[in-house]
Structures are given as C-alpha cells and as structure tokens.
C-alpha cells in the first residue's frame, strides 16, 4: 500500500485514494468534429507505460480533490504529485 502525498492534505495512506488512469488526456473541445478513429484514440487508447507514468488520482476519502502523480509503474515508486492544471515537474 502506497503512501500518497495529497497536494492539499499531505501524506495519507493509499486506501484514502482512488486511481483515475493516464493523465493529460484532454477531452476534445469539439468532439463532433472528430473522426471515429480520433474519438476512439481519446476514448480508449492508452499509453499504459512501463516506467515513469503521469496519472490521475483523487483523494476520494479526504478532500475529494483530483490531482496528478508521477509514478514509476515498474516499481511503484512515486516521484512527485502536482495539482490539476499544473505542468508536470520535469523528470
């Protein structure tokens, strides 16, 4: 079980959080203008990286805020967390 440093509440146990998958997949502003392929890319296709991944988490049993995380999926080491809308810390 990880220890996650919620950008708002500080270090908490993983059981207070929920994972939300790959980060920085922006919802298309004009979905109707996308082809089926482009829409499928947004909807289903994922990098599913082995290694350093940027992903979304929410402090569901705490402040209910979504935030982003830099995590190495090969060993589960968390390198950083950052708020929604912020740029990922260079790493």
């Amino acid at each position: 079980m990880f220890i996650i440093n919620c950008p708002y509440c500080g270090e908490r146990e993983q059981s207070e959080f929920k994972a939300g998958g790959e980060a920085h997949i922006v919802r298309p502003k004009q979905p109707t203008e996308l082809s089926d392929d482009e829409w499928a890319e947004y909807l289903f296709m994922r990098k599913n990286i082995k290694g350093i991944q940027l992903e979304r988490w929410v402090h569901i049993h705490g402040c209910r805020k979504w935030f982003n995380m830099v995590r190495d999926t090969s060993n589960d080491q968390i390198h950083a967390v950052y708020k929604m809308g912020e740029k990922p810390p260079i790493k």
Binding site: F2, S15, A19, D37, F44, K47, N48, K50, E55
Partner: protein, 417 residues
C-alpha cells in the same frame, strides 16, 4: 515421438533410474530468419506456435520469451476453466477452447490434469439473479451446459457454502457448468512447448525483444537481446507487456495493465471438490490436487508492472471467503503473489491483425485468459497463417473500439474471471 510418455515409459525408465529421459524441449540459439516469430512464451504463445506448426505447417518459427516459459500469468493464475459466457462471440470463443481442453492431455501426450469438477457462479442480489439467469438461457441456446441452481441446489452441490439467508449478502442461487473445471497451469505451458519443439519450433528463453524493425508498413524483424531476428510475421502474446511491445511498433492499444493477486492455503485433505465463483462479493475458490485452497483476488485500480498488489485486495477477498465459508477461518495462507493483467475497456480480448502488415496481437485477456489458452492459440495461429481472422475470433478485432461494436462482458456480467 522421441520419448512418448506413458506408464510403460515410466516403468522402462525406472530400470535405468530415470537417467535416460530426453529433454522436454531444446534450448536453441535463434536462427537468422524465421517465417514467423511469436513474442511471449506463455501458454497462449506456445499454443499459438504449436498450432501454427501442427495445423498450418509453419515449422520454421520461433517463440521468444524474455524470461522462462510459463513464468507469467500462465504460472500465476487460479486455473479456472469455463465457457458459460453471455455473448455469442464469447461463448463461441471459450467453448471452442473448452472442447480443445477436453482432449488436450492426449493431444499433447502430457497430462495437463484438466479436471471437469464443475464451476458454480453465485448470485447475491436480485440483479445477480437476473444476470445469471440471462446467461444460462443464452448458454443453453448456444449449446453450453450451464444450468440455474436454487439456493438449496447450491448447498447440495457444495455443502460447505454458508447459504443462510441472514448473512449480509445471502446466496440467492447460482449457475453450474459441469464441463467446466481446472487444469495444472505449468503443465499446459510445458506440454505445448514440448509438442511445438517436437515439430521443430525454436523456443528461445531469456531472449527479450528490444525493438521491432519495419520498412514502411511491413514488419522486417525483431531486435532482441540475442541479436536481430529476421521475420515477416510477428505474433505478440505478451499479456501485461503488450503495450510495451506495441509502443515499439508505434501502436497504441486500448489496454491498461493492472496487478491481479492470488493466494493458496496450506494443503489439506479434500474439503471442496468444485470451483465456486462469486463476482458480487469477490471470492473465487477451488482446491488443487496438492490440497491447497486456490483463491483468486481482484485487481487494483492503478497501472503497475511491479507484480505486486495491495494487501487490502487480499484482505477483502478473504473477508468474502470467510463470509461464504466460515469453516476456513483457521486455515492459513501459505503463499500470495501478483501478476500483471492487461484489461480491455469491454473486458474482452483482442485477437487481431493490426494496421501494420505482418503484426498481430493477442491480448486483453484481463483476469480470465488461462481458460482460453488452447482456443486462443488455435485461432491466433489461424489469423497469422491466413492473415485473416477465423470466424470465431472475428468479433475480437481491434477495430471494434473505433466502430463501437464492443463485446461488453463487463457491462453485462461484472468481472470476467
């Protein structure tokens, strides 16, 4: 066959103190070129190679495995085999596999210990009842031997289940597929490996793929830790690592790789002689030939390749086990482990050509791939050999995620264990 297995060969070899058994498979260095290369030496990959050689006369082929064969999900799963799926496409796929299981030990001359001890799926709320009845009706019409059981029939078939109606999520009934059961996971990989090797397939272990060479839209070969291997056809059966391989070819897949855990108890004398699954409370249990209770837990909600999951998942599963089997409270967990499962949004697999000529993917089996091993291998071999899907895996193409024609076992029936 160079050394056929039987009671007689055992007796014969006993006289020479078993010093004359030959290798089950060779340990060759890769050739310069193959007609096809399978990436991934798990059950599905080895079965694919076996059927390519057996049914499609492609003998100049290789299986490359970055570790040791059968070391991935093949050797880590809870070995449940069943075909009582809801949708026609799934039923067709999994029952094709089940039929192959029924003759597999003889086909391979290797005892995979396929044990048709039956699989029960329990219902714990009214919607479960609707969903499971819906499935049994569909199964019946698809010629699959699943039947609905009342709570009393459940109790009769597996007396140690707590069917009291006062518990938190009482058992309201269930389904039973008698032809379903379990098999010895390692034996499946080893049996297919031995069979494929016999027909000339090179099984190359400790050989990791580092890159995929393509010219234009055509596959040219693979960069591996044992050098470059030239080939025009590559079948990827890399389970949790599918996305990693896809990335080498510049593809993205609709997959997420998540930790799935399982555990076994200490071995005891026979106490439960069937397989019981409960999606609602997340408990899957059977007893191995060795006497261990084999228990499947759920997946974590985050992507991970660490082969470790969180303890809370295991705890939750054992809570459910004790809710249904209070008598197991004093049993002890002997071993717990994790695997990496690649999950599709619709919880159905992909057995498909790709946009790249000569590149084929077999992935997305999620938590339920073992049961499909022979069928998956057979159909993937067909797809690779003919560059066209078999009618049984046509529905499991990658394009369904674009067109929207999903095979949503997930939406229709919880988790596809």
């Amino acid at each position: 066959m160079k050394n056929k297995y039987s009671i007689f060969s055992l007796i014969k070899n006993a006289f020479t103190n078993h010093e004359n058994w030959q290798r089950a498979w060779r340990d060759p260095e890769p050739k310069k070129e193959y007609d096809a290369v399978i990436i991934g030496g798990g059950g599905h990959g080895l079965a694919t190679a076996y059927y390519l050689a057996k049914k499609h006369q492609m003998n100049n082929i290789a299986v490359v495995e970055k570790g040791w064969i059968g070391g991935g999900n093949t050797g880590r799963n809870t070995t449940i085999i069943r075909s009582n799926y809801l949708w026609d496409a799934s039923a067709g796929l999994y029952d094709h596999a089940l039929k192959l299981w029924e003759g597999l030990s003889q086909e391979l001359n290797y005892n995979v210990m396929f044990s048709q001890r039956g699989v029960m799926n329990l219902a714990h709320n009214l919607q479960d009842v609707r969903d499971l009845k819906r499935r049994t009706h569909a199964n019946r019409l698809n010629g699959i031997d699943a039947v609905w059981l009342s709570t009393n029939q459940v109790k009769k078939f597996c007396p140690i289940i707590n069917t009291s109606q006062d518990i938190r999520y009482p058992v309201l009934g269930g389904t039973l597929q008698k032809r379903a059961g379990t098999a010895r996971h390692d034996a499946v990989a080893w049996g297919y490996a031995r069979g494929a090797d016999e027909m000339g397939v090179d099984i190359i272990q400790n050989c990791e793929v580092k890159g995929i060479k393509r010219v234009g839209n055509k596959i040219e070969g693979l960069e591996t830790t044992k050098g470059f291997i030239k080939t025009k056809k590559v079948g990827v059966v890399a389970a949790g690592h599918s996305s990693v391989i896809a990335d080498m070819a510049g593809l993205r897949l609709p997959l997420e790789s998540k930790p799935l855990q399982a555990l076994v108890s200490e071995p005891v004398k026979p106490i439960i002689d069937t397989v019981v699954m409960s999606n609602a409370v997340h408990a899957y249990v059977s007893q191995s030939d060795k006497g261990e209770l084999v228990i499947g837990a759920g997946t974590d909600d985050y992507v991970s390749y660490s082969q470790k999951g969180s303890h809370e998942i295991v705890e939750g599963t054992l809570q459910a086990i004790l809710e249904l089997y209070p008598i197991f409270s004093r049993m002890r967990m002997l071993r717990q482990w994790g695997g990496i499962v690649d999950i599709c949004p619709d919880a159905s697999p992909i057995i498909s050509k790709t946009s790249i000529e000569g590149l084929y993917f077999n992935c997305g089996w999620g938590t339920g791939g073992f049961k499909a091993t022979p069928g998956s291998g057979d159909l993937f071999a067909h797809t690779i050999a003919n560059n066209e899907p078999h009618k049984l895996n046509a529905a499991f193409n990658i394009n369904r995620f674009v067109s929207g024609d999903l095979v949503d076992e997930h939406g229709a029936a919880a988790v596809a264990h």
